[in-house]
Subunit: 411 residues, 2 copies
């Protein structure tokens, strides 16, 4: 299969935009990406649109891509609407990559867009819960209800995810984090240092939802979501869109693309039932991506990983081979993943600070890496970055993410 | 790109299965397809899952494929969840085809599954409405509400789609049918003959949701949904699943596949804003598929087309070149599309009689064609059929289907 290049990216600010529609967010992200690529919307030959939750939040199902692209004059072409929970748009990117790599198309769009904020927060949280097996969720919720009735005085935990409730996923991340603490001796303080690092990175990113800087102590002092995770260690609810234009080498040349970035690896996997000690989904999918790219973790200069909570980053650093197993928290706490460190991770601020409009996250990670590799990341630039890796997971099946993608970009 | 073969298909009966889950329907369709292909579930290398409305009907979004495939022991592999309204699983098939044609995988699954029945019928109908731009739907519904308030005595039309409400799409099909009658002189009686033909075909199909035979007079006498369409001219609400296993020629040979069917053309398109007289989406996507297959309409021996209402079939026959423009109703009424006619259409009974569990329909069409080309269609067999064409449309954007796929199969 042939080489595939990214010749333009664009993203909206991430945030709470009750007044903006999915069409409006799409327009901004796409027009930026098209301008970078030097193309008109009508030149796109096929589009892959990742969105996870518009059906449950806005009522728009089935043809979300067609609906949001039409106002841009994009129609007629194949439009694939892809869902894979938080990995929806990285899955879209994977399809877009194959569409070009296979020789089927020369110029395609990968788009991620999400509006998660709703006046009725319950809608947002039930939509997030739908990234698991709803049979299990419903059993879990019934169990919680029974417990509440049995212990009417029991205090419920504070709210996370922007307030007004909390995603069931935070509890699962917390369980995994506690297991890590028990097994490897990692500490809540180490997690706090890593979160503070991400908020510092986010403060340098004009697209980030939150740009405040916090000390590790402030991270620890923020309301507890589910021990050991405090609110500042968790990604918020958010709205936003991100777009990438992919091209064949011939098309990139024809369009005189400035500094095209090569998609050196594009791997996707799903969760499986496995024993606790078998390689986990991040390791498995990462291995495929490394093999495609012909590189190893030691070659990666900058990385965006899926820190839906800080523990996600700790786990990803280990599973991707950035540090030895069990040392993810120490690795981060020692500053190796901070700007200036040996492998800056989540220079965008990550999901914790940049934000996490679910379906938009995967392509937004790609936008950050493209800017880094092109030397356009401003005061959060990793000097001389040549290889970037994005890891984006979604949903849950058994003890694993339901979907996982790893992309490796090179310049 | 290399040739792709279908080496196994399976489908459930279509019908009203309030007591069956998506997992249960998936299991039946997949295990049949795997048995035909002579493979174990774990051999599948990548899965493409089409479902349109589970989010709004059952609350399950995001990772539907992973959830329904897990009980079969399928995990770890890439799972792509695809939506394109009524064309969801033909879109999944298109992706599955490319995955093998590109050389990326040798053995993949295309699955369509839908549970549309719900105790609360409103849920089903709002889910169907979500196959359009919801901004427009909401404006339309508000307008209808205003009209009702202005004319409190006005009679509402009878119910369709299994009773208890009706899909907004029936009104759009009716408008198009009336325009056809006005422009070409087609009649409601001709439509009735075609629907009666489909119900006759469906009576021969053990998988069909409805197996009753009707005279054209009975079709005309069934309750009016939206003139000229009566209930028996419209597809019902339904539940079901359909699966197809696709393989590379080498893998098909290795597995000793019996009578593999070749995917000679796989084309997908989306709706666009166009003038009334420009080629419509069926014609455009059909042209691409014919060119890929290197054949023309005169070579097609059997066809499954998207008769969400009988008018869909009339239009498809014209746009696909089975008959001249404007003559679709006459062509059908003269018996050319009936078993024994020169080009039998919807030998399965079509969406009108076989049923239309939205996300399952595209792959179910493929199952019918595979059986026809393999000479396994029982008493609805088209003798010596060598080339089959499936046309599957979904949703609406402007005056067109939002998504459209045409597949051409050969043996």
């Amino acid at each position: 299969m042939r080489e595939v290049k990214i010749i333009g990216v664009g993203m909206t600010h991430f945030g709470k935009f009750l007044e903006r529609s999915m069409k409006d967010l799409t327009r901004e992200a796409c027009l930026t990406a098209f301008a970078e690529a030097g193309i008109e919307p009508k030149q796109i030959q096929s589009a892959y649109v990742g969105n996870a939750m518009a059906g449950l939040v806005t009522g728009q199902e089935c043809i979300r891509g067609q609906v949001v692209l039409r106002p841009l004059g994009i129609g007629g072409i194949p439009v694939i609407n892809v869902e894979n929970a938080c990995a929806s748009s990285s899955s879209a990117l994977h399809l877009a990559w194959l569409a070009v790599a296979s020789g089927m198309y020369d110029l395609v769009l990968a788009l991620g867009v999400e509006k998660l904020y709703h006046q009725d927060k319950k809608k947002s949280f039930m939509a997030i819960a739908s990234a698991m097996d709803m049979e299990i969720i419903n059993q879990f919720l019934a169990l919680q209800q029974t417990k509440k009735e049995e212990q009417p005085e029991a205090k419920t935990g504070p709210e996370s995810g922007g307030g007004g409730g909390r995603s069931i996923f935070m509890d699962f991340y917390a369980i995994a984090a506690r297991m890590h603490m028990q097994k490897y001796g990692s500490t809540q303080e180490q997690f706090a240092v890593i979160s503070a690092k991400n908020h510092f990175h986010g403060s340098l990113n004009p697209h980030a939802q939150y740009r405040d800087v916090y000390t590790p102590e402030q991270v620890l002092a923020s309301p507890l979501v589910s021990f050991p995770l405090t609110r500042l260690m968790c990604s918020p609810i958010g709205d936003g869109a991100a777009a990438a234009v992919l091209a064949s080498p011939e098309m990139a040349q024809k369009l005189n693309a400035r500094q095209p970035v090569i998609v050196a690896g594009s791997a996707l996997g799903s969760g499986m039932d496995r024993t606790m000690n078998a390689p986990d989904i991040v390791a498995r999918v990462g291995k495929t991506a490394y093999e495609m790219a012909g590189i190893g973790p030691e070659d990666v200069n900058v990385s965006e990983v899926h820190d839906a909570t800080v523990y996600g980053e700790v786990q990803a650093c280990e599973e991707l081979g950035f540090c030895p197993p069990g040392e993810g928290a120490v690795f981060g706490a020692e500053g190796h993943t901070k700007l200036g460190g040996k492998l800056p991770v989540n220079t965008s601020g990550g999901l914790e600070s940049k934000g996490h409009p679910v379906g938009a996250t995967g392509v937004a990670q790609i936008a950050e890496l493209v800017w880094q590799l092109q030397g356009r990341a401003g005061n959060r630039q990793v000097p001389g970055a040549k290889v970037g890796l994005a890891e984006n997971g979604g949903g849950a099946i058994g003890i694993e993410a339901a979907a996982m993608s790893v992309h490796i970009l090179k310049i």
